[in-house]
Amino acid sequence: MGKILAVTIILIAILSAVPIVMHTWNPPADVSTHGHLIDEQMSETMAEAGIAFLAGQILLAFFIWKFSNVKPGARIKNFPGGAMGLVLAAFLLVGTEVLALGVFGVKAWSQVYFTPPAADAMPVQVQAGQFAFYFRYPGADGKFGPLHPELVNEGTQNLFGLDPDHDPASKDDIVTAEMAIPVNKEVHLLMHSKDVGHSFYVPALRVQQDFVPGLDVSLHFTATKVGKYEIVCTQLCGLGHYNMKAYLEVMSQQDFDSWLKQQAANQ
């Protein structure tokens, strides 16, 4: 029975690896400037973790095959090199491997989080609330009007709690239910939660960032390909969580300008 277990473990290991090697299930193709760094890091890690996975399972299976039900008179033998050899192997092989992954991985993380947005990055505010995203563009004055939470009212469509009568900066703010951005233009996303925790996940853009109620956080990215992509919520926010989504339309600058003009007219 030991031999059957050995074969089963090897079969499971190989079958588990097949969809990975064949790339059967992949995320949406990357359309961001930084995404390739994450994808490369992912591939590197997949190769190293894959080797560790297969090596571990095969070694386990091999020893089960070889040492199950040996003759009663057989003598106990020790693994060549003993425990210290294995400890050293773990430090040298896995230690250096994870250290390398950690060091190289900093590059992608830094690009997303440690570089400030460009001075001319386009500011867009996103507000998450149960169970929808809304977006705000600052209008011609380039300034967002302040938020007044006590004025938020879905019935009157004052989704952000703006007070254009008293705040001049709010007058030309443009509020939309869809997000549109120009292609190849950096976007500085200002993230505000209205109620509970949410997250902003755009798999195609290789971004995911939680909203923190009470603390506005920001994110910046550049989309490189015109198209329509999904924004979904990944932080459990209540009964409609699964359905909390919006579309991100990446357009040419010209199309974006006319879209924004159209949205301004609709306010």
Binding site: F63, L215, L236
Partner: protein, 595 residues
């Protein structure tokens, strides 16, 4: 180490009444069995919940006959509502993590066997021990009661992120009464674990019999000892966190709720709290909790493997040091749950480093287990099959940690099924394989009868293959960006993944059904199983030196046990058997591991 004459006197007389013998018992063995029974009840509840969830994920509009009986509003016309899905999911996670993975490997097996393995007659504080079980049982009742009060259990997930968990009923179904019941249940549960941990630590340090030095403790005892230290420190953080959460509900405080939040167009009457504070407190408990679930399993599996390999581990001490390293590091890595939470991104890198480092002791453990198989005389029985299955699952679940330890990759994989696959394999399935291994191994000692090996092996094969069929595809879903905690997949990029979800559902139902074989074996063998010899596995540690199975009330029948050897004297050449019991005074050339 202490002289037995001072300590091994049983602190209470053998009870005679039914209540004192079986209900409010002070005997660690009865308490261990009570914990096992509670874990069994909890795991069956949690498993049924997972079936309901899986059916819904495969076929969202499916009518599940009779479901409306559980909740008329949660399943009108027997079709689950989105909120009810989340409520069942929250209860599944909470029940499994707290009442199964913490309760069975640590409290159940540990209570029964730790005092025996150290040569004691009981734990030092039997009343605390009894209390710890009944407090835990009360916590379970409080949690389950949330199904029947108000609008059902909380839907905020087992992680209970604030402010969803803290603002009250306005946040959704179950967020009022259900939420307060959840937080109360877990706070009560923490009390039980603190009392239990205190007993475990004192038993290990103060109740060891003559000759039982720390390095002569079996690896199981080390596993429980290390776990109890983690339990004492981790649950001590979760308990106040839960109390603060309750206060946010009932006392108008704002520990976890920030100012200016608007729900249902109403400005919330809270100010000044911190959303991230809950996450820090929760994960400071939550990550050690992963090791609270798995370290006892590591001890149990090592213990069972040596008996079935007929040789000690390549290094006893390296295993102990590695388990200890996991415990220490577990407090330093918790922030990897929060890479994209909005905490300072620099902190993410800081938390990433120990998370990557923790793969080293994990790898050492795996290599020592596998390396010890080399040159052994491996016996295949149900217990050893589950122990070997544990190693395979631990490897599979462990390697996905390479991905999740890196903040940059976490941007893609956070909150996806990749995480769900990772923790189910590495902490849930592996731990449950440890529980199964322990059950098949110790059943003869606890009941005096053997479990049926044929049924046991069928149970192993179907569970081993089934668990892989369920949890390996979770990783593929995660890589494709499938977000977790969704009750249906309405996003364009997720629709194509539904067939894979259906495959998982079928695998989960089948694997779940297979557990009935185990249940049948567990109860049938209790009455009809073959009578067990005193030491059926020819094992060396003290639980096999008791005069009967089950052991008498004082464990060793009035004998003061003295320990002469390291715990795993297998492969002794020249003796009639290939092993020497720990309490045998026989002069032997000791099999010592590398120091």
């Amino acid at each position: 180490m202490h002289d037995t004459s001072a300590h091994a006197v049983h602190q209470h007389a053998a009870p005679t009444s039914f209540i004192r013998k079986y209900v409010f018992s002070l005997d660690h063995k009865v308490i261990g069995k009570q914990y096992y029974g509670l874990a069994l009840l909890a795991v069956l509840t949690g498993m049924v919940l997972s079936w309901l969830m899986r059916l819904h994920l495969g076929w969202t509009d499916l009518k599940i006959p009779g479901l409306h009986l559980l909740s008329a509003s949660g399943a009108p016309g027997d079709v689950m509502t989105p909120e009810y899905y989340l409520q069942l999911m929250t209860m599944h996670g909470t029940i499994m993590v707290f009442f199964v993975l913490t309760t069975a490997p640590f409290a159940a097996f540990g209570n029964y066997f730790l005092p025996i393995q150290v040569g004691a007659e009981d734990m030092p504080f039997p009343r605390f021990n009894m209390m710890s079980f009944w407090v835990t049982f009360t916590a379970f009742l409080v949690l389950i009661s949330s199904f029947f009060f108000g609008d059902g259990p909380t839907l905020a997930g087992w992680t209970q992120y604030a402010p969803l968990s803290a603002v009250g009923a306005v946040a959704g179904p179950g967020q009022g009464t259900g939420e307060v019941l959840w937080a109360s249940s877990i706070a009560i549960f923490c009390v039980g674990q603190l009392l239990g941990s205190l007993n475990f630590i004192t038993t290990t340090l103060d109740m060891r019999t003559k000759g039982m030095s720390l390095w002569r403790l079996p690896l199981t005892a080390w596993g429980w000892f290390i776990t109890s230290v983690m339990g004492l420190t981790a649950f001590a953080v979760l308990m106040p966190a839960c109390i603060l959460l309750i206060l946010d509900h009932v006392a108008g405080t704002s520990f976890f709720v920030a100012s200016n939040l608007v729900l249902n167009d109403q400005l919330q009457p809270h100010s000044g709290g911190s959303t991230l504070l809950w996450q820090h407190l929760f994960w400071f408990f939550g990550h050690p909790e992963v090791y609270i679930a798995i370290v006892p399993g590591m001890g149990v599996v090592s213990h069972i493997l040596v008996a079935n390999m007929r040789r000690p581990m390549l290094s006893h001490r390296v295993i102990v040091y590695s388990m200890g390293a996991l415990a220490v590091l577990s407090y330093m890595v918790y922030g990897h749950h929060m890479f994209v939470s909005g905490m300072n991104p620099f902190s993410s890198l800081v938390f990433s480093f120990p998370t990557l480092v923790i793969t080293i002791p994990s790898t050492i453990l795996v290599l020592i287990w596998i390396g010890s198989l080399y040159g052994s005389k491996l016996r295949i029985n149900t217990a050893s099959l589950f122990a070997l299955g544990f190693i395979s699952m631990f490897i599979s679940g462990g390697v996905s940690g390479f991905f999740l330890a890196q903040p940059s990759i976490d941007i893609m994989l956070h909150a996806t099924y990749f995480v769900v696959g990772h923790f189910h394999l590495v902490m849930a399935v592996a731990a449950i394989f440890g529980i199964f291994a322990g059950t098949y191994f110790w059943y003869p000692k606890v009941t005096g009868r053997m479990m049926n090996e044929t049924l046991g092996k069928i149970h192993f094969w179907l569970t081993f293959v089934g668990a892989y069929c369920i949890f390996m595809p979770f990783h593929y879903l995660g890589i494709a960006g499938n977000v977790r905690r969704y009750q249906a997949f309405v996003d364009d990029y997720l629709v194509r993944l539904i067939p894979l979800h259906r495959f998982i559902t079928v695998a989960a139902l089948c694997t779940g059904a297979v557990q009935l074989i185990f249940l049948y074996n567990l109860f049938y063998s209790r009455f009809r199983g073959e009578e067990a010899p005193l030491n059926p596995w020819q094992a060396t540690s003290l639980e096999w030196s008791t005069p009967s199975s089950p052991p008498p009330f004082d464990n060793f029948g009035g004998r003061h046990v003295v320990v002469y050897h390291d715990p795993y004297q297998y492969g002794i050449e020249g003796s009639t058997d290939d092993y020497v019991m720990q309490d045998s005074p026989a002069q032997i050339q000791s099999v010592r591991d590398e120091k």
